[in-house]
């Protein structure tokens, strides 16, 4: 009987975790930002890379178009959250249709540098508080707006389940296999490349399909970011 009670409690916990998992909001700030030695007035958002896959009972499938779409939504959400902090934002200064090859290469190289650093950022996020991570002054090769003092890197991955996979995940409740979205936002000094802030909001709910929930998640994840001084945000919008 005792075993049955334990089993039922575990089952209920798993079901709760499965369907009502709270968003996990982790935020790490560089001491220079906390001590206000640096304030972010204007930021340039680099093209986001959010990859989502469709999980069915037969494995995972790429969702290239949907990934591009969700990358756009996340960029928008991060932009909104930054604007909420009075930070001037440029989101589309890297339009692939208007960039020449050399600029495309530089962007790809800087994105690669960040991607190489990302596993360490995820593994030891707390070290952002020790000002441990930097991309180096190579970030200046992007030649973004002179007023920009931060670059924003967005990465993410997520899984959406088909009905079949959902059924399997419910039956195999103890496998803890569930749809999720993990977004990471890295804010980097536009001149030195130092990582100023890093957040990694995680959600086991359906944020990928719900823009409002996504916005809320991103906004919460940047809650600790100090607001810019009013009136100093002056990034020139990119040419149309």
């Amino acid at each position: 009987m005792r075993l049955s009670v334990r089993f039922v409690v575990m089952l209920l916990c798993c079901i709760f975790a499965h369907y009502h998992a709270a968003n996990v909001q982790a935020q790490y700030l560089n001491p220079k930002l906390v001590e206000k030695k640096i304030t972010i007035q204007n930021a340039v958002i680099l093209p986001a890379k959010v990859e989502i896959t469709k999980e069915s009972a037969k494995g995972s499938e790429m969702m290239v178009a949907e990934s591009a779409e969700i990358s756009g939504s996340v960029t928008e959400a991060v932009g909104q959250a930054l604007k909420g902090k009075k930070v001037g934002v440029v989101t589309n200064s890297f339009d692939p249709t208007t960039m020449d090859e050399s600029r495309k290469y530089k962007l790809a190289d800087i994105q690669n540098r960040y991607d190489a650093l990302l596993p360490k950022l995820l593994d030891k996020s707390k070290d952002v508080k020790k000002a441990r991570f930097t991309l180096g002054d190579e970030v200046m090769l992007l030649n973004v707006d002179k007023n920009a003092d931060a670059l924003v890197f967005i990465r993410g991955q997520g899984r959406v389940f088909t009905k079949g996979k959902t059924a399997f995940s419910i039956i195999n409740i103890f496998s803890f296999d569930f749809p999720f979205a993990l977004i990471t936002v890295g804010i980097v000094d536009a001149r030195t490349g130092e990582v100023l802030a890093f957040t990694k909001p995680f959600s086991a709910s359906k944020v990928l399909k719900d823009p409002k929930a996504l916005n809320k998640m991103i906004e919460k994840s940047l809650k600790k970011l100090p607001a810019a001084a009013p009136g100093n945000s002056s990034v020139t919008p990119p040419p149309k």
Partner: protein, 442 residues
């Protein structure tokens, strides 16, 4: 990402002479596209477009034309359903190549720089072409889907089996072990395909008129473990390189065409000349990704090819400068399995800057730093001797002097750079360094 990858191979005396006959055999595979395959094809096409947009494809007219010429010779202009052949270079210093099932063949700049001649390049492309023509990606995808379904079902049975006693234990054991076995078999199946691509690719490349030993030699080129990263798991979806060398060389007949030493030398020089621009680009990529030893290796090839080129000397100097406290070449001790695993763990945990600091705290690191700095300075100065207007050499020298704390000289070199290249992409970066140096000198 579902792709199949890496280089090439051969069959012995029975190699067919007509390229058309080889690919005819391939195109008659009676492959019928199902919905799953077409869905995958759609995703792959989108992915292919994304590579272009994201700046990961290297676009250079001469290189594109060269790759297309060799690639087209390999495929012999054969039409295959839902395949449009494209041969492109991917901006990645890691030696690798891969094929998308829609016929897009990508070869990394890192592999192009490692190969020695056109026969090796043709072998790599033929390997990848075989993956496409044999529909390996689709077949692998289908196989994985079946196995994943089996894994899910077995897991479910294992979770909910109501039977107790020995029967229940047996079911649980099977449910635990079977998914693992199935997962391993997903990997094993890929190895079979790789071997097929090696042997069939050898046949295809030879039929197209390339020397069959190109396949074996391409593996030998890849065997150079310049970065000390070839752990057992690195080429996990491929048979081991030595095994591939053995079975491909074994399948080349004794009567097969072989290049004389002179012919081989000429072929190598011709290929290196074709690759000079991309090799330089690859040195930059290698440095950007912390593959400093590869940068030195490739730059040395460039200097050897054109010793009169100031630009090539600049790349070699830059490679030594960024090498910092690291040894330019690994010793046998560094290349032991244990040492490589330890180095891999360090790479995963420490940033490049931290690794450099750690090394500088050791006598060996200090010695390497002094020696590499001296070599870099000598090479930068030689580059400037060859062409005193080489702006990049001034910039590199400035960075070297800055690190050596020779601030005055560093500032002078930066000033020279800014004067020679006022509109360069990194002007702002160097100007900032110059200003900070000047301030620190006050």
């Amino acid at each position: 990402m579902i792709v199949t990858s890496l280089p090439v191979s051969a069959r012995g005396p029975s190699i067919p002479t007509s390229p058309a006959s080889t690919l005819q055999e391939v195109s008659d595979d009676k492959f019928v596209f199902g919905k799953v395959d077409l869905d995958l094809l759609d995703e792959i096409r989108l992915l292919d477009d994304r590579f272009e947009k994201e700046g990961v494809v290297y676009r250079e007219t001469a290189l594109d034309a060269y790759l297309n010429r060799v690639g087209t010779a390999v495929v012999a202009d054969k039409k295959i359903e839902n395949v449009e052949w494209k041969f492109r270079a991917l901006r990645d210093p890691v030696p690798n190549a891969f094929a998308l099932p829609n016929g897009s063949i990508y070869i990394n700049t890192g592999l192009l720089a490692l190969l020695d001649d056109e026969d090796q390049l043709a072998a790599v492309l033929a390997h990848e072409v075989t993956h496409v023509s044999r529909r390996h990606t689709y077949l692998r995808n289908r196989s994985i889907r079946k196995k994943m379904l089996a894994i899910n079902i077995i897991n479910t049975i294992g979770t909910w089996t109501p039977i107790g006693g020995p029967a229940g234990l047996a079911i649980n054991l099977i449910a635990t072990i079977s998914p693992l076995m199935l997962a391993i078999s997903i990997l094993g199946y890929s190895r079979e395909q790789e071997k097929e691509a090696d042997l069939e690719g050898l046949k295809v490349a030879t039929a197209a008129g390339f020397a069959p030993e190109g396949m074996t030699n391409s593996f030998k080129a890849m065997q150079k473990d310049i970065e000390g990263e070839q752990l057992n798991s690195f080429y996990s979806d491929h048979p081991k390189l030595q095994e591939r060398i053995n079975y491909t060389s074994g399948s080349i007949g004794s009567d097969a065409k072989k290049l004389s030493d002179d012919e081989a030398k000429t072929a190598k020089e011709k290929y290196l000349a074709e690759m000079e621009v991309i090799d330089r680009h690859n040195v930059e990529l290698a440095i950007n990704q912390g593959r400093f030893r590869s940068a030195v290796f490739i730059s040395e090839k460039l200097v050897h090819l054109h010793p009169e080129s100031s630009e090539n000397y600049f790349y070699l100097a830059e490679s030594y400068r960024t090498l910092g406290p690291r040894d330019a070449v690994f010793t046998t001790q560094h290349l032991s399995s244990g040492a490589k695993k330890k180095a891999a763990k360090t790479r995963a945990k420490r940033t490049l800057e931290e690794q450099e600091t750690d090394l500088l705290a050791t006598p060996a690191g200090q010695a390497a730093w002094k020696s590499n700095s001296a070599e870099a300075e000598r090479l930068f100065l030689h580059a400037l001797q060859l062409n005193r207007l080489n702006a990049n050499a001034h910039r590199g020298l400035g960075m070297l002097y800055e690190k050596l704390n020779r601030k005055e000289e560093a500032a002078n070199e930066y000033a020279a750079y800014l004067e020679l290249a006022p509109n360069a992409i990194d002007t702002e970066r160097i100007r900032r360094r110059f200003v900070l140096l000047k301030e620190s000198l006050k």
